[in-house]
Amino acid sequence: MSEESNVIEDVRKALHRRQPLEQPPTPPALSEPLIRLVHSDLGLPELFTKSATNAKMHVEACAAEELPGRIGQFLREQKCHKIGLPISPLLEKLNVLRSLQAAGFDAQCWDNITLDAAYDLDAGITDVYAAVAETGSLVIRPNPGHGRALSLVPPIHIAVVEPKNIVPDLVDLFQKMQRDGVANNTTIITGPSKTADIEGVLVTGMHGPGYVQVYLLR
């Protein structure tokens, strides 16, 4: 296994090079007018809502103080009982965990949930690292307090998005990731899990959440 084959040498030979390049090569310039589909910072919450709705996510605008109540009502409608949350300054500030517990839900923070137990959750509630107006995407960047499984294995994912999270375009997302230092794992979520493998018929909730509810704070 320690035996490293000479793939890089072979590649160099195939490119008719005798030795490694002395200077880094210059990749094609990325002209912003060409690669950008969203050119303005104006109206991002509206654009995000439109794109996310097109991607079959359910977006509702919500005042911060109403959030715990709204989530509780949604969870009751969906008959969810076991709920998982990350340790998140935003959710903590909005008092989501304690409100849900007080309302009778079995809500737990990620530090009290094992990966295996996450498979038994009815819903996961998360904040986001970013949201993308162009595509209506939610961007999740896990950390020790925010498990990857929370937005993945429960059948319902509830995401809380602040307007300041929204970037205009995928171009901006990658610039932000570069600035922040790229983590070992980032997931861009654009819609509920789905498949069309059997005769092209669309089925949601294949392996990930089949329902994505987004609360966009005012």
Binding site: G147, V153, T190, H207
Partner: protein
């Protein structure tokens, strides 16, 4: 599919010539298969066209994407080294392997050393290319394909027939029958119920898995990341739940910068399935961080050559390495839509398969594939990285001639024909003889139902109109 796959010649094992004509004729004769493939691929094709038309400058974006990929493969030595260093910095282990065999041995060794037994695999063309699943199973590991289509392929011992839609050739009824037997449940052909049955089954597999495998759509050299796109969430679970993660990726998948992903992602899903974005875009590179409770403890990136440097060395065909396996050329191709993916006799079907299979596996064995095209150009028009597939197929036909790959009798016939064409008089004589012979075999019906041996293929499944009484030359001379 009506033709049991066991009857198809095994593409990898024999060195003899792959008989494209025989298989494609059989596949094209299967009405149900042709209908399913045509309907699904046309849907995707129309979806792609609508999405691309909605882009302000789709042509400019394709041009740029093609240039990014071309730049990356032309500086692949530099970017591979950069990628290796970046992944290592994030705590991942990078392995560069030359052959399929090395890759299979390495991956089993990783599993053995970590004591892993239960493998969840997400869809990856390169793992099909090296038949990794079978190898791991033979090694005593439990291997589960977790993409719904690939799972169905696995339990029916079939082969995928499309790059993106592996079971495009199967009907819901055949899946229903398969699941009723496999899960011991009452028969249903409802796609939602069937998907639900697979979901439950595979969820338990994910929960217990200790070894996850993915491929990769892109590799980011600068930051050391793998990018995997998908709609189902099975790749995301494969790279989240198991404690060991191995990503097996072809070396040509590199892009230089993280921001290049913005360009590639805007084209990939639009080209593949007519979506602006796939549901999950996974960008990862390295094991979980200290304190994290999920994600892999060990991350291995296996970068495989398996014939790619040979294609790289051939400047004529180098640009075929740009391919991002979106399947747009398959959906656009009138030939693919008639004959389906199994007709191409290898992992990579459609126009791009007709091109890269001979490059990977040898032109002698796959000399029929470059002919499996009308050169209409729909594939080139659809390709998001602008690979000029028709041009390369034509070049490959020239190679077949110049390298004397065709059989001696066939070559002789063409040489004789070329000789005849050089002399107008000789041409007129041969033409008269031919006309006389064909009109005689038509027996006054106006149709020739059997041509002599060299051309007999033409009349195998259809008749040929008999020539007119007077040739064009004769009519021209006799005009007033």
């Amino acid at each position: 599919m009506a033709i049991p796959l066991e009857q198809l010649p095994a593409a990898q094992e024999s060195e003899s010539r792959f008989d494209f004509n025989e298989i494609s004729v059989r596949c094209a004769a299967d009405k149900r298969l042709a209908e399913a493939v045509t309907r699904n691929s046309l849907n995707q094709h129309v979806g792609r066209q609508a999405q691309m038309a909605a882009l302000p400058d789709a042509e400019g974006l394709r041009e740029l994407a093609g240039r990014i990929k071309q730049h990356a493969i032309e500086n692949l030595d530099y970017y591979l080294e950069q990628l290796r260093q970046a992944v290592t910095r994030s705590g991942g282990q990078v392995h560069l392997v030359s052959t399929a065999e090395q890759a299979r041995e390495l991956i089993t060794a990783i599993a053995d050393r970590a004591g892993c037994k239960r493998v969840v695999k997400s869809k990856s063309m390169v793992s099909e290319e090296i038949a990794l699943g079978h190898h791991l199973e033979n090694h005593g590991l439990e291997v589960v394909e977790t993409d719904l289509g690939e799972f169905i392929v696995q339990i029916s011992h079939d082969k995928p027939s499309h790059l993106v839609l592996p079971i495009i050739h199967k009907t819901r009824a055949s899946v229903g029958k398969l699941f009723a037997e496999y899960f011991h449940t009452p028969y249903t052909d409802d796609p939602a119920t069937l998907s639900g049955q697979a979901r439950l089954h595979l969820r338990n597999k994910f929960r217990r898995a200790d070894f996850g495998m993915t491929g990769g759509n892109f590799l980011v050299a600068e930051t050391g990341h793998v990018c995997v796109v998908e709609n189902e969430g099975n790749a995301r679970q494969s790279l989240t739940t198991p404690r060991v993660l191995v990503s097996l990726v072809g070396i040509e998948k590199i892009v230089p910068r993280l921001s290049d992903l913005a360009v590639m992602l805007k084209l990939l899903a639009r080209s593949a399935t007519g979506q602006p974005m796939t549901v999950y875009t996974n960008i990862f590179g390295g094991p979980r961080q200290p304190g994290e409770k999920d994600g892999p403890e060990e991350f291995h990136l296996v970068l495989i050559d398996n014939g790619r440097t040979e294609i790289l060395a051939d400047e004529q065909y180098r640009e075929t390495l740009r391919c991002i396996r979106c399947g747009a050329c398959l959906n656009a191709c009138p030939v693919y839509r008639k004959i389906g993916g199994h007709s191409y006799g290898s992992v990579y079907p459609g126009p791009i398969g007709a091109l890269i299979t001979p490059l990977f596996e040898g032109l002698k064995k796959y000399q029929d594939l470059p002919q499996a095209s009308s050169l209409c150009g729909a594939c080139y028009e659809a390709c998001p990285v602008k690979i000029d597939i028709p041009k390369h197929l034509l070049q490959m036909r020239r190679d077949i001639v110049s390298r004397h790959i065709k059989s001696a009798p066939e070559r002789l016939v063409y040489q004789a024909w070329a000789w005849v064409l050089r002399s107008p008089r000789l041409y007129a004589i041969v033409n008269q003889l031919q006309k006389w012979h064909l009109r005689r075999s038509a027996k006054g019906t106006g149709w020739v139902s059997k041509l002599p041996p060299v051309a007999s293929g033409w009349t195998k499944i259809r008749d040929m109109p008999a020539p007119a009484a007077k040739t064009f030359h004769q009519l021209w001379k006799g005009r007033k």
